[in-house]
């Protein structure tokens, strides 16, 4: 039974409202609004029930790349030097810009993770279809999400098999460029053959360009309206506050 307020929110309303919220987060450039957007995102993330460790595990690589980028921004952007130690310099403008970027990224990703956690899978696909996204795009996304894990498992099985056959680990494999090439080639061949099998099976089951996702067909209720209005109002308020902070309004 759905007790989670986000999970109980109709997906076809949840998707456009949360996307609008993410766009309003992306609009923010003022440091003073960063705690506000982070608080909104943290609330939605907490409501989704997603464990923080799982979210961090999924975001490990993008956050690492972001960290490297913001270190460069802190050292290179701006003219006001706060701390300087040889070639390493911390500039005030760079620090402020990095804080805004981190706040935006974490807020947007928090909302995205909340959406993925509560909608996820078929409901998300049905929600996108009801929002007017073309069927072929939704199907491609679903198939990619489905088979990327299969490809990852195949890859790890092949690596284990290669090690059992005597492949050396680590930097020494760089002397044998054929090894990653044959691995990539084998994965391509297997993926191609699997795609042909899946396509034949889909045609036999009557696929005509879009999977008919059932989705949530219950009528709109007060909870759907309340969530949609409050998220939309938050997004509008953020945009207005940002325009005020920039001196436009």
């Amino acid at each position: 039974m759905r007790k989670n307020p986000l999970a109980a929110w109709r997906t076809s309303l949840q998707i456009p409202c949360l996307f609008m919220l993410m766009m309003s987060f992306a609009f923010v450039r003022s440091l003073v609004l960063v705690p506000v957007i982070m608080a909104i995102s943290a609330l939605l993330f907490a409501l989704s029930g997603m464990p923080v460790k799982e979210a961090l595990k999924r975001l490990r690589l993008p956050l690492t790349l972001l960290f490297v980028m913001t270190v460069l921004i802190v050292m290179l952007d701006g003219t006001t030097v706060l701390v300087s130690a040889g070639p390493l310099t911390v500039r005030a403008e760079g620090l402020e810009l990095s804080a805004v970027i981190w706040g935006r990224v974490l807020s947007i990703l928090g909302v995205a993770m909340a959406l993925y956690r509560t909608a996820g899978g078929w409901e998300l696909a049905a929600g996108f279809r009801r929002c007017g996204v073309p069927g072929i795009l939704v199907d491609m996304g679903m198939l990619t999400g489905r088979y990327i894990h299969v490809t990852a498992e195949e890859y790890s099985r092949m690596r284990i098999a290669m090690r059992l056959r005597g492949e050396r680990r680590g930097y020494r494999t760089l002397r044998l460029p054929g090894t990653p090439v044959s691995l990539a080639g084998s994965l391509l061949v297997r993926g191609f053959e699997r795609a042909e099998r899946v396509w034949s099976a889909m045609k036999l089951r009557g696929y005509r360009g879009a999977v008919p996702y059932a989705g949530d067909r219950r009528p709109l209720n007060s909870h759907d309206m309340l969530m949609s209005l409050s998220v939309t109002a938050s997004a509008a308020a953020l945009v207005l506050l940002e325009l005020c902070a920039r001196g436009v309004v």
Binding site: A26, V181, G185
Partner: protein
């Protein structure tokens, strides 16, 4: 997330990545018309792989140079973009070599994936 446009630059990003990919595909399809067999295939695969990466980098650099905002120093931007394009040269070389080797692998193992032997 980074305030660089995202959705509003979707079209231009699609062209920066998509157009070189289409040109690479067209270039690779010339292998049937050229003599040299597997050598021509390897050279065209390398050129297609490396060329598409370099072309994407140059297109992006050109677009950024042509649209530098007034408040930014043009000289600094030019220097940064020059360094960025130079950084893509080794990436393009690796991409070219890897593409050529994968194409060579596929032509031996599954030539129908390359449109041969159907």
């Amino acid at each position: 997330m980074f305030g660089h446009g995202g959705l509003t630059t979707l079209g231009v990003n699609g062209i920066i990545i998509g157009l070189p990919a289409l040109l690479a595909s067209a270039l690779f399809s010339l292998r049937r018309k050229l003599p040299g067999g597997s050598y021509a295939t390897g050279i065209l695969a390398f050129t297609a792989g490396a060329g598409s990466v370099l072309l994407s980098a140059m297109m992006m650099a050109s677009l950024l140079v042509l649209t530098i905002p007034e408040h930014l120093s043009a000289e600094t931007e030019h220097q940064a973009l020059r360094m960025m394009v130079l950084a893509y040269v080794p990436i393009a070389a690796i991409e070219g070599v890897f593409t050529a080797m994968v194409v060579s692998f596929l032509s031996k193992v599954k030539p129908e994936m390359l449109g041969d032997g159907r």
